[in-house]
Symmetry: C2
Subunit: 244 residues, 2 copies
């Protein structure tokens, strides 16, 4: 869904250029998408009564757009739909965004972060201990999806982000379920990736110290699917699960 003319990198802004370890930062679109597509749980941050809130939640991606969903009664979803919620149109880089995108305010300022921890980096010095990781941080304003067609597409994307192919092999949401589900849309615009790889970097004067040094990799994977107790024996494991 990424338009063919999409530039290979997202724009760099004050918020997406880190103050520390700049050499680990990237705005490369393919890298950002690859990190986002490797998991389906993000940490969504928003401001409530002036204080930060960070909640884990599922997300899906369609091209350069992320979708998160929740009950229409959940806090961030309610907040994004409240008329009194500030859109902060005066913020750097966001001036007029709501209007330009043709979507009605209100919106909810969010920061959506996805992190993969790949290894523990054990240096000889406590100071140089680190973590190998790949993360994506998305800043922006999230809007409630009101178009029924986009809402369906978003919900399919959410299910398929968890297990590719699954939305076509489950009962689609009915009208009542659609009405009970709120979907937020967050465009990938102000976004960056950060990656650390490789071994420890010790100071030269520490190289002879007698401490073990190296990387302990973290391994992630899927175990064998566990059928529900009430699954009919005639229903066999679908190919998209046996391959995982």
């Amino acid at each position: 869904m990424t338009p063919p003319q999409a530039p290979p990198s997202y724009r760099a802004t004050d918020r997406t250029v880190p103050t520390r370890a700049r050499e680990r930062a990237s705005h490369d679109r393919e890298l950002v998408h690859a990190i986002l597509d490797e998991t389906s749980v993000c940490h969504l941050g928003f401001v409530r009564d002036g204080a930060p809130v960070v909640l884990p939640t599922l997300y899906g991606r369609v091209g350069d757009t992320l979708y998160v969903h929740g009950s229409t009664g959940s806090r961030p979803l309610r907040m994004a739909g409240q008329a009194g919620q500030a859109v902060h149109p005066g913020e750097a880089g966001q001036a007029g965004q709501a209007g330009e995108a043709g979507r009605a305010a209100p919106g909810l300022d969010v920061c959506l972060t996805v992190t993969h921890v790949d290894g523990l980096v054990l240096a000889r010095s406590a100071f140089h201990h680190s973590i190998n990781y790949r993360s994506v941080v998305v800043h922006g304003t999230a809007y409630q999806v009101t178009d029924p067609e986009e809402k369906r597409t978003a919900l399919d994307a959410l299910v398929d982000h968890v297990v590719p192919g699954r939305s076509a092999d489950s009962r689609p949401a009915n009208a009542k379920e659609l009405a009970a589900t709120a979907v937020l849309r967050l465009d990938l615009d102000e976004v960056s990736a950060k990656v650390r790889t490789g071994g420890p970097v010790d100071d030269p004067e520490d190289l002879a110290l007698p401490y073990w040094t190296g990387v302990v990799p973290l391994v992630r994977g899927y175990g064998a699917p566990v059928p529900a107790d009430d699954l009919a024996p005639s229903v066999t494991l679908p190919a998209y699960l046996s391959a995982s």
Copy 2:
């Protein structure tokens, strides 16, 4: 380090009682500690220029206190040390907190969240798809640690949270490194856990649908430690790593 008279549960507040799925929420101290101790990477949220920021970072735990650290030049660490940063003393449940704790303002309002994803829950209906997870959300005000003794304890806790036993088997931070490292202290006070376990819960009218349903477990673990290229052959793998 938890005092023996510590109550078995953290207090429930407006911020730590979820609006949705309350039956999954808990304030049990042991459960909260167990979830926090299973990993060493959290997502730390704070507010910058009115907008939320969520960054992955390492943390350590000493009793009912969490520590995060970073360069003295990193944003959240700088912000917690800025005299102009609001402490929000008028917020519910936090009135006078800075003063009572005997620590000087300023502080930084944060939300620190830790999440373990344990399984993908595939229901027959797209609507009832879910995730098995365990999460902890901590709300509070983080303060820069200025006492040198507490700073050392915190840094040891950070390293030992990544690999238990490691702080005693690496070179401790020297004065220059200590000066370059800022440590934030966040007391576990307004904190809750949320846990989903078990299989999918489908609507009765969907039970005969021909879709596979069940749970796909997520498996995490450590791979074999990879020594650094420049590790002397005489340095063997320590017991705390061969056991992992």
